[in-house]
Structure formats: C-alpha cells, structure tokens
Amino acid sequence: MKKALVVVLCFVFVSIGLTWFWNEWARVHYGLLFIAVATPIYELIGLEEARVVALRERYINFVPFVSLLLVTPGLTLRRRTIGLALGLLFIFVCHIALNLTELLQPGVSLPIVPAIVSDTLPFLVWIVVAYPVLAKFIPVANEPEPNDDDSLIDE
C-alpha cells in the first residue's frame, strides 16, 4: 500500500513537470515536427488534403506514457530506455494515423472513437513495455514467470 502511494506521488510530480515542459516548449516544437514529417507521408500516399491540425490538442498523450514508464518500479534500465524510445515512436505513428480522421470529420477535435483510442494509447503502450512487472497482476500470465530480457514482446 505504502509502495503504491509512493508510485502515485511520483507519477503526480513527474506528470506535472512534463505537462509544464509540454506547455512551455514541447507542444509547439512537436507540432512543427509533426507537420514536417506527416505532410510528406500524406502526400506520398495520396492523402495530401488531410490537414495536420486535427489532433493538436491530444498530442499531449505523450505525457502520461512517459510518466507511467518512468515511475513503474522494477523495470531494467535497458527495457525502460528501449521501451521509451519505441513507445514514443509508436505514439507518434499513431498520431499520424489518427490525424487522418480529419478527412472524415474536419475540426480541431477528433471524433469520439479515435479520441478514446488516442486517450488510451499511453496505457496500452505502457502495458506492452512494462509487461514483466505487470504480468504478476494477470492471472493467466502468472505461469511461467515472464523474462525481463531485451525483447519487448515476451515469449
């Protein structure tokens, strides 16, 4: 119980710091990076009419993912680092994909279903990356004991 409380407090501190960093600096720069990367990809696949603004307000879902991963106890440094890099990349790719809903429903907000998927992304990616620690909570995964090796997907 005490350990869980410490983890929650760490999450609060880390996520407040990251939200501040996001607001002050990262949001604008990420927006610029997103435009630079997504536009040519959309052009390449013939969807150049997709504007790159639709997901702007939900880009912040990087923050809970990074916070969760940083405060999860028991992960090896290697898994945490690789998981962080691959997780951020995966969320970025998902942003590019989810942004295409602009073609179906133009506007600054995402339609409901993609919005829910977007909000859940940090949690989903965290489950995959932090699986060796989380497996003890999943009944069918209790046997055999998971390995915390280099591979993010455990056999």
Binding site: A4, T19, D119, V128, A135, F137
Partner: protein, 176 residues
C-alpha cells in the same frame, strides 16, 4: 503440417500471449464502447444535457460541504465568482468507457467483472467530481494557473484514475 497451419501457428502463439492479447482485446472493446457512446451522444442530446446538469449539481453539493460560496445553474458551477461549464467530456463517461474496456478485456471471472464495472465507474465518477472541484478552487484562488491545471487534469489524471481504479479492482476482486 499444412501450409495453413504453418501460417496460423505464429498468430495463435501471439494470441495466447496476454501481453499482446490484452491490448488488442481492449482496442476491440474501446471501438464497440466508443461507437455506442458516440451513438448515444448524437441520438439522445437531452440525456447528455441532463448528465452535464447532474454532474454540475453534484459538484455544487460537494463544494457545499466546505463553503457557502458555491452556486449552480444548469451545467454551470460557480465558486465565488469563478465559473466552470460542465460539458460531456467533463462528466467522466469517456474514462468509464476506457475503464470498462480494461475490465472486460482482462482475464478475470465474469463475477469479478460484473462487480468491477459498476463499482469502478462509481469510483471514477467520484474522482471526477473531485477533479472538477479542484479545478474550481484553482480557478478561484490561482486563476493564472487554471489553464495549466485544466490540461493537466485532462490526460495525465485520466490515465492515473483508470490505472488506480483498475489496480484496486484487481486487488479486491481478481486476486482475492
């Protein structure tokens, strides 16, 4: 072994791995739950307005435990001159859809899920009332920080709420 079996075996192997099966199942439930939610929003706008109003009323009641300076009119809650308008994204339904998908996808007995969904949704609603009340206080006392905390309480606490309630459910109902 046939070619079809050769192709299916790696897929079957991946599917039996809870590390992948759980997120995939969750996405499937999210799509179903999100679609139903979206349908509800478009087909029952009066019910949505009523839900906003009820949430505003409960926040007002909660604030009333600590101060007489809180008032409520329709979906608008005011604390000593500072007002917040409750919209459908503020009532916690999105969080409940996500949490319910987490529970449904989780490998647990049906009985645990049947307890977990309503109790967890009630816990999420309570957390959500606390979240709105905190925002009201921040807006009233430290207005310049309101926007920051509005963003903070959106995505970061959404995940924190879901993970906390899910953890509680697993501890209380799955690993008894």
């Amino acid at each position: 072994m046939s070619m079809a079996e050769n192709t299916l075996n790696p897929i079957r192997k991946l599917w039996t791995n809870p590390q992948l099966r759980y997120p995939v199942l969750m996405i499937a439930y999210l799509i179903v739950g999100g679609s139903l939610f979206s349908f509800g929003l478009s087909e029952f706008p009066e019910a949505v307005e009523e839900l906003d109003r009820i949430t505003a009323y409960i926040v007002h009641l909660f604030m009333g435990l600590f101060t007489d300076l809180s008032t409520q009119r329709a979906a608008l809650v005011t604390l000593d001159g500072f007002s917040v308008l409750i919209i459908i994204e503020c009532v916690g339904l999105l969080e409940m859809v996500i949490y319910s998908s987490c529970v449904l996808a989780f490998p647990a007995p049906l009985r645990a899920k049947l307890w977990g969904i309503p109790l967890g949704c009630a816990a999420i609603f309570s957390f959500n009332v606390l979240r709105i009340a905190t925002l009201l206080v921040v807006g009233r006392q430290w207005n310049e920080y309101f926007e920051f905390f509005h963003i903070y309480f959106w995505q970061a606490t959404l995940i924190a709420m879901i993970v906390s309630v899910l953890y509680g459910w697993i501890k209380l109902f799955v690993h008894r």
